[in-house]
Symmetry: D2
């Protein structure tokens, strides 16, 4: 038995505490006995690539399936940077905080700039680059090779189309790559007013479409929209321990995630549902409970300032994560919806 | 559509070209909606650990679940060696040949000794170590820190109990760790006359129980039988990009693999069935077809010397791997059984 | 011919733009034809170690001679940290800015805290450590393993005895190592009111005595005052490419630097002379020329706010380094004295 | 005092157990008080580069000065290989045996082929490359990126012009770089019948001219004869801890080594003298003492099979290195001449 939760416990701790979306699991079942090739050459992965290319409007995109997020970041950043280059990011970026130094482990400096509610400000990036290139001692410093952003960010916030364009233009001007970590991309796309998958594919030099947190058992899809991945990627991915022998495992899941069951690919539907529930949760928390948002997040990660005296009571019925203390009497807490969250869950919260 | 195979095509290319054993998949289904913790703290993984400890007769074993074999080898070898140490292995060892240099990528020399049908000879190991410690310049050379063996080997062969004891004694004498790569452990245990899981747990300082090639979708279980894993393994595994957020994915599968459905854990049953089929295949090939074994393998990887004029015909009905040329007229080929192979498959081969 | 400088040009660009102190060079001459062992086993190095142990009042110190500063930092930090650990330092620290990412290249994160005129504030260190250990997700973050400071700092400033004690106590409390980069140690010791070589040896777990910038042709002496260097340091130093075959080259020079020619070891005399000249330069600049110190440095690196209209004229007679703009009309510039600077040089400046 | 040697002790243990050739030391003296730039920009290094370009007949060669041999090998190999590439060499190669795994430490596999008296056989290289490129699983193996040879080899032997041409042609055919480790290059050039510095510059993509073992205190000159070093070499060298701040130290020494004092550059004279003495030593050992050469070395490293009963007596008057046992009654020993060896030394040996 997994837990002693009372029956009505609602789980909003994270978007990776359930298994997989049922359509994903069903597809694993129905393809299970079909034999396939391995190491990325299986027909499932190939079909998933075709579907993703379609969704991205990039006919010659190269796509690699890896198992998890930190692995993907460390592998891709290391493969794309020259050994003497570093990566610029917000100081709240996952690679700077919560990956146990996996990027530095591959030899590269993570160059952290101030975070603005999780986002990197293009002005900060420009100022840093200008100072770097004006410095007589630049050759003794780590050379910038890439800008890393998350979409949505670790705080649930989103870059606008204009902000992405400015980052891309700055990257081009200074000959940097723009890499977008889309661990929660489904939720970001669902919530954004102007960023779509095809737009992202235009902006980024490389990005990944997160599976683990968006309905898959495991797996992330790395997309090189212009088909310009470095040579020998298979060797390099394997060298990083990131090549799955039974590659179909991720391929089949992305086949399911990018299949259109109703009017849109499942991946989009998963994002849309979770964001709709997050917005309903927001109304409940703000309008009914009077909680103030800690950060104005339009995506599936919601942060509220909870009076400390409410914490214990809330914990009886909802699983959530304490984020940080706000003041003596209040605590910021994170509530995360996902494909596994239901209207019924929110009904329960409303009732309490 | 996955393939243009004719209906009767028998797939013996590898043990990772199907999905998962149906009991594994079923268990993924039935646990799917139960919420869980993450990063290895989920109750499924904890239960799987308990089952594995039981099967190994090691009550304080520490167990970590990783996603794939090369990842596991690179992570474990790097975590257990001092930075200035190397790993001894047979020159045919997977880490020396087929992991794209993943071990060297973490900074360690792979020190290859002659392979004897895939096996390391303890006499070679002793001679090497004796020479190393007798050398005045030893401090300028890579210090040996570990012996790596595979069970079964890349050529399907097996160490006997006595051979394992000799390797363990040599390792103890020279203060080396003994690490056993069990990518295909189920098949090795099923075929061995005297090596059991509890014995392996006594011989090895660390070993892994392969899931990917033995019935799981993905996943390997690293076992420290004496509970003496290095400090901060979670950080180190994450630093290597090998920590799954949704750790239940592998935990649930190993829960299924080490559950006793009939009279033995599924893992053992999978091994036993595949080896029985491999032995039947051997009889068919040797007795009916007159093919000579290329290597005398008692496990699920079978190697035969096939007359070149038979190759095309065989390929019509069987998928297999060309291993290497033997002489002008013969080719060594590999045929691999697995949990997915059936008696019916072999009936077909017999018929042909 | 090296330069087109007019005869009276005074060189204050750095403390490494001349050869070696004449006593150092003379000792290289007089020992040149004596044969010796190699790789650190030569009698010159052994004698230099004995002299350094005496100067540090540490009878069992272990001492290694390396060729240069960045090499020493990268090698020592990598050898002393566990692979999953990072190093805390001021954001102006040499390892964070001017070593081309050499520390990250060995796999470790450099964790930068705010610089206070080049110094790390113990309160910042404590606050960071407290937050780290209070964080539920600490195992997903880079573990702190060391505090790195420079003495004197990159801005010429000095830690007091009390500040060193507080840093050491904090390190002990949190089980971190304290490493002191003494690239310009001679000048720091000469200028400090209360920090001596024996005190430094008590405070630091490991430190290096800089040779390159303090009168040697090349070479740095790494001191483990308590004789507790990690095992197999020779192998590790060689693995980092930092072991000199002809180790006597550095050994002979440190023999000279720690020989007492007058009333104190040459190393101390070099520091004292350069600091006295720096103080005289300060009086000239502040009292005669009316320049304001940019930073209040008591050591051989002096920083002044120079009116832009004076820059060109100054450049005619003095070599110095532009540090950074201060405002529209002023620029901070660095002037560095060394063993090679003379009273006559300063007479010239005074005259101008 | 350095040693308890009796006055007549002759030191033939190695070519790095004295200081520097007197002309090198003298040049350090006479340039000592001239101020200079740093980090490779000093006029001494620039002049040394000009002299080396002249000696190599390569007008656009790029030249970098590093401190020692292992450092040079690890830095250059790592900078020139892609991260997923390995380096082919003889199994006796210095990088494979005596560099404490410094190459693997930078992430690259050292792929050892059989040694033929220290030399790599082009037929072995071709066979290995042919097999690699014929292998279906090549992408799972370490890709070959470079051939590393030593000239002279660790056993004192030399490649002929024809052998170098064949290696170069094979490298070109398979798109590999040819790197020549010239730690003892002076002695190789002096002994070779047909290999000159200009020829070497035509054959190799990159090579280094050893200083430490050929008359300098320290330092090696890395030459890219076609001026095609990778971008940002200064950053990369610094990242490897191999950039000297006071770069003049090596620059001045190579200025001396490549200055023509008599009829040839000092470097050539040093090599010629040491080889002439080695040949005289050979005549003494073979003709007078009846010792058999262990290896037929034409360079300054001489290897002889010494009857065990002679060892103790020889040790009274000559310092040498025991190489390996030959049979029960004989031991192979190494005797090394250098710039510091004199005719008088050999007279003594002859007398004994």
């Amino acid at each position: 038995m997994q837990s002693q939760d009372k029956e009505t416990m609602i789980h909003l701790e994270s978007d990776y505490n359930n298994g997989a979306h049922e359509a994903v699991l069903r597809h694993l079942m129905e393809t299970n006995s079909e034999p396939s090739q391995s190491y990325g050459d299986d027909a499932f992965s190939e079909h998933a690539r075709m579907l993703i290319r379609g969704a991205c409007h990039t006919h010659n995109a190269q796509i690699w399936f890896l198992a998890g997020g930190t692995q993907t970041n460390a592998t891709i950043i290391d493969c794309l940077l020259q050994p003497y280059e570093g990566v610029l990011c917000a100081d709240t970026a996952h690679i700077n905080v919560h990956e146990s130094g996996a990027v530095e482990f591959t030899g590269h400096k993570v160059i952290a700039l101030p975070s603005h509610e999780g986002k990197l400000d293009v002005a900060d990036v420009k100022a840093w680059l200008k100072a770097y290139y004006a410095d007589d001692t630049a050759e003794h410093m780590v050379r910038p090779g890439m800008v890393y952003i998350t979409f949505p960010t670790e705080l649930g916030t989103l870059y606008t189309k204009v902000e992405l364009e400015e980052l891309r233009d700055t990257c081009k001007q200074y000959d940097l790559l723009l890499y977008v970590d889309g661990a929660r991309l489904a939720y970001g796309l669902a919530a954004s007013k102007d960023v779509t998958l095809p737009l992202l594919a235009q902006m980024a030099d490389v990005f990944y479409i997160g599976g683990t947190k968006c309905g898959a058992l495991c797996g992330e899809a790395v997309v090189f929209p212009r088909g310009d991945a470095p040579a020998h990627m298979l060797s390099r991915i394997k060298q990083h321990g990131a090549l799955l022998a039974k590659s179909r495992v991720v391929g089949v899941q992305f086949e399911a995630l990018f299949t259109t069951y109703g009017t849109e690919p499942l991946y989009m539907e998963i994002g849309r549902n979770a964001v709709a529930l997050a917005m309903r949760l927001r109304r409940i928390f703000v309008e009914k409970k009077g909680y103030r948002p800690y950060i104005d997040s339009p995506t599936n990660q919601q942060f509220y300032v909870i009076p400390n005296e409410d914490l214990e009571c809330l914990r009886q019925s909802i699983g959530f994560e304490v984020w940080c203390p706000v003041d003596e009497h209040h605590t910021a807490c994170r509530f995360v919806t996902s494909w596994a969250t239901t209207e019924k869950d929110l009904d329960e919260i409303l009732k309490d």
